[in-house]
């Protein structure tokens, strides 16, 4: 057809070159475009709409827990960043520094926030006086900057979008419980909305957030067997409060120090979706966050009644609150099929003259390409069932892959042999708790500690590395 856009060009196959496959998808599904600042990307409408859906779903969960949104300045004076020793050591090497305002040199350099603990602490010191002011459960949706050397869209960029929650509590117990509650919230969100199974656990000391007492994380396994940290929740104890002079008067009128947490997820989750669910035809989006949940493609649309019927289906689904798109452009059905597969639309509805005669339409599920007939009298329920089927199918196959690629090992040799034979994946192995062993496992096998899973198993009583008594089971893996 003269007017038809050129056919969707195929993406590199996943098995051929996983990194190139990933880059092809982010570009060809029009999620991002590069900008002239290295490591900073333009998030295009289709990519941003995924993020907006995530925001809406997460923000609802946060608010249900009593969290309130705020906005902190994007600049942190150097002296403020310096207040907590571990924190500044962790972040100072990778911040962007503002030195001039207009033509004037600033008296003090300002960094563009890499994270906002210091600002929240300064604010809490101003507004918290009594136990009546506690807890404060604050969150903000902003962008942050970390001057990374190597960058990849969504996975590691110099600027990225995230939410950062910062809470402050009367007691350590309450703060610790909140830290774990937020990790649970993230895990539940990933599984329920993103169809992405995750392993919940605690980070080893070497992997803690700069300034935290303990860091918890959810780890997901990508298609190539590498792990991706999908969200973190930190318990700070009273370290930041002490450094920033935050105190409160308790019910008995004595001055106390409060306890803090912070927790965040980022646009990295979009990368996680791509690498968990995508295939050689493109993106596969979980229905809960797909900008378009259903695309209607009319077949033989020049024939009488086809477009009318397609519009009717559109109106019905739209009225039912389903995010639906009707493509009645001049492009061929084949072109449209490829285009919306590339974009990962969960359900495609085909409707042509014969379908109309038989009072049904054809639904094609993106994740397994299964075809189903839906009676037009039952359209909304039929489509909802398809969307649920897509979600469940995506979750199950991701979980199955994760289980198949999680290996229990009791020696370094076994780790090396297993990975050589089966490819990358999660490795479960016992650990004595010694950082030297953690480093040595990584050096000799290539897999680092991802987390100490909440669900512990006893694979042996000895450390996989040194053979001394084991303290816990660690989940190891190569990481994004």
């Amino acid at each position: 057809m003269a007017n038809e856009k050129k056919a969707v060009s195929a993406v590199t196959s996943m098995s051929e070159d996983f990194a190139q496959w990933y880059t092809d998808i982010v570009k060809k599904a029009e999620l991002i475009e590069y900008s002239s600042v290295k490591g900073c990307m333009v998030i295009r409408p289709y990519g941003y709409a995924i993020w907006e859906n995530m925001q809406r779903l997460l923000d609802g969960r946060f608010k249900a827990l009593g969290v309130e949104n705020v906005y902190m300045p994007m600049f942190i004076p150097e002296s403020l960043l310096n207040k907590e020793k571990d924190h500044v050591e962790g972040f100072a090497p990778e911040v962007a520094w503002v030195t001039h305002g207009g033509n004037d040199k600033l008296e003090e350099r300002l960094c563009v926030r890499p994270t906002s603990e210091t600002l929240f602490c300064e604010h809490y010191a101003n507004i918290i006086h009594s136990y009546r002011d506690l807890p404060k459960l604050y969150n903000q949706w902003v962008s942050v900057v970390r001057w990374e050397k190597t960058t990849r869209p969504f996975l590691r960029s110099r600027e990225f979008l995230w939410q950062e929650g910062h809470t402050i509590h009367e007691t350590a117990e309450e703060a610790e419980a909140f830290t774990e509650k937020m990790l649970e919230t993230y895990a539940e969100f990933c599984e329920t909305e993103l169809a992405m199974p995750v392993v919940k656990g605690k980070k080893t000391d070497s992997d803690k957030f700069a300034g935290a007492v303990s860091t918890y994380a959810i780890e997901a396994l990508m298609h190539d067997g590498k792990a991706l940290q999908a969200g973190t929740s930190h318990y700070f104890g009273d370290g930041f409060a002490k450094a920033f002079g935050i105190t409160y008067t308790d019910k008995n009128n004595s001055v106390k120090i409060p306890y803090q947490t912070s927790w965040g997820v980022t646009t990295r989750l979009i990368g996680a979706i791509i690498m968990t669910h995508g295939d050689d035809n493109g993106l596969v989006l979980p229905p809960a966050v797909a900008p378009v949940q259903v695309v209607i493609v009319p077949v033989a649309q020049h024939k009488e009644g086809v477009l009318e019927k397609a519009h009717e289906l559109y109106d019905t689904l739209n009225a039912a609150g389903i995010r639906v798109k009707l493509d009645d452009s001049e492009n061929s059905p084949g072109w449209k099929y490829a285009e919306y597969e590339m974009r990962g639309v969960p359900v495609r509805i085909e409707i042509g003259p014969r379908d109309i005669e038989e009072n049904h339409c054809v639904a094609v599920l993106r994740h397994n390409r299964k075809k189903e007939f839906i009676a037009l009298d039952n359209l909304v329920d039929g489509v909802k069932t398809c969307l649920a089927e897509v979600h469940d199918g995506m979750f199950e196959s991701a979980l199955k892959r994760q289980e198949e690629r999680t290996y229990a090992c009791t020696s370094l040799d076994e780790i090396n042999e297993t990975l050589a034979k089966n490819g990358d994946g999660f490795v479960k192995a016992m650990w004595c708790g010694d950082e030297a062993c953690e480093d040595k496992v990584k050096e000799l096998t290539g897999v680092g500690s991802r987390c100490i899973p909440f669900e512990q198993e006893t694979l042996s009583d000895k450390c996989v590395c040194c053979g001394k008594p084991a303290k816990c089971m660690v989940m190891w893996g190569k990481a994004y």
Copy 2:
């Protein structure tokens, strides 16, 4: 009461010191807190919730017009900012410059976006090729930075939150129509949601946005008689497109240059709400954007049945989608009345033993303190009627004030006398179109040109300044 917080301290009276009244309100209603970076503020939960409500309502309007949200990087390389001559001259003197990433000096300075025309243009040059790619109707919700010398919360700050829409079209006519449509959208939003009457008009050339062909604005009159520019919409012609090399191939296969617009509103609108509606008891919030639309205050809450009934009212209103808060704290009703008046909650519901007996509650409207009984059997409708009454009453009194303080003048002496007698306000006067006269009016009367209103009148056929033939009527005023 031993447990009662100290009484809400009164704000400075508006007539005594308007600037101090404003500052008292932003602080005491807990909208903002200062941070350690001059000119950058912390937007607290109550202030941020107002912004979230505005975002939701505006974003819905944008999306209904086909606008899509995106995210552009926050950094602009110096060379990119320099591409459009007028634009860089307008903004370069007031941008914050990033010169270092971590410990390394950058090869090229990056400015923190003061506005993102240059980034959108660079992106459009990458993605627009054919007439099929047009129009693009993009918007983003972000913060921007302008290194102002004098700052005031919401009104003028070094960092502020806004949305910036950037559209690109095949023809000048289409772009111009879209520019005006967005101004209409803003005006309609201000009047319908913020109860704030605005004057729509075109800026004079001296007041145009840096790089625009024409700038349109909505202007609102504050309580002190000063004008506040509440939103702007710019038509760019093809100037940016030429500077950034954006072209497209039209239906006849010839290469054409597209036409652009941009438009924005900011957190300044919160300042506009404060100064349009506030009074000596504090904030007065329009129901559409009030974080809490209705506060329930139990009276004699220790008496049997009162708290139960108060919770019942809460549940009923909450289920009806009204943003309602029940304050059952130990503070006295009087303290609560003052507190929620300070916070500008549109409707207060009082419920005590006698009310329960008589099967009604008392509603007190914030803007005029009028008391009404609402039958409990008619609670939801009664409260909705009150909220509508508050909105309408707020709009009418703001409009009345604006009309009373808009003065038609035909000579500079008359302007001076009128303002001396009546205080600041809008001045309508004829203008010849000469920039020298515009400057002279400001110099000799203190009022500058706010806009050339769409609704023109002929007050005389002569310029108020030079006496030569007048081209149009200008709305003059002192401005925030």
